[in-house]
Symmetry: C2
């Protein structure tokens, strides 16, 4: 079964992201707008409890932090993806690092670029037609993130939340 | 903002439900297959913490329980909805009752019929064409439910999980 770890921003930021995803992201209906903290990884059912425990520890070890979105950018030419760029923050980096440290596999393929995807699998023409205009857009939003989520993937490609983990120590 | 409380069954039951929802449920892409415990209700942001606290208490007060699905049925003529009928269970009824007891509003409109929707807003012809065949289907599935979820609705009608609540006392 495929699992992943993500954070869902607030409704206003999700609504804003969806206004783009609707047109540019074929995953629009598969999962709400999110910041991926750990790409899909395979897990046997018997491994789940120890992974849940580890994600809970990681979440407890990182305090709630400000998430700041400040522009539209692309991974082109690596991929034809459009995203809201997220300001680097030590807490966000720490979450990502911990989720890619033993017992989890490292991500050898990419280094962490905090982002919220608003378009993907675009043709070169779609990307270049829109990129200039979108890069000019004034995007400025800041909010506090206080939770992350572990999700699993259904056969139709959509994602269901398995568990929420609050950041920082329990009240 | 609209909130709701639901339980998501296991992946196998969700995949089975989606094989029907794909054809019969226009909400297919808005939310994964679920059992509604509390229909959408409006909440101001400042009311959220006390509601979260109350849902957490309710979840703690009910132990994990078996969820049994045993046939396809319909709410016709009240509504043209198709669903997997869920065997009544005191724990499930208790969750529903608590979520409709002060500070929450009672549901004056319907009494609780535990179900997992697989089709809705069907025309009379669609419903009657398929109902006989679906009612004959051998549906038999049982699993343990150990968590419920509080969700909120985005502007596009889709739902994001806000928080997971484990049933019973914390380990």
């Amino acid at each position: 079964m495929n699992y992943g770890v993500a954070l869902f921003p607030s409704k206003p930021l999700q609504d804003l992201a969806n206004s783009y995803r609707m047109r540019y992201d074929p995953h629009y209906t598969l999962i709400p707008p999110h910041v991926t903290l750990k790409e899909p990884f395979e897990l046997e059912e018997q491994e789940l409890p120890s992974v849940v425990k580890r994600v809970r520890e990681i979440a407890k070890g990182v305090d709630p932090f400000p998430l700041e979105v400040y522009k539209v950018d692309t991974f082109y030419p690596v991929s034809n993806t459009l995203f809201f760029k997220i300001r680097e923050h030590s807490a966000l980096t720490e979450l990502y690092e911990q989720l890619h440290t033993s017992p989890f596999k490292r991500n050898e393929k990419y280094s962490f670029v905090p982002h919220l995807t608003i378009g993907q699998n675009l043709s070169y023409d779609e990307l270049s037609d829109n990129l200039g205009r979108l890069k000019m857009k004034q995007i400025q939003h800041e909010e506090i993130v206080d939770r992350i989520q572990l999700l699993y993937q259904l056969d139709n490609g959509s994602w269901t939340v398995y568990e929420t983990f609050k950041l920082g120590k329990e009240e």
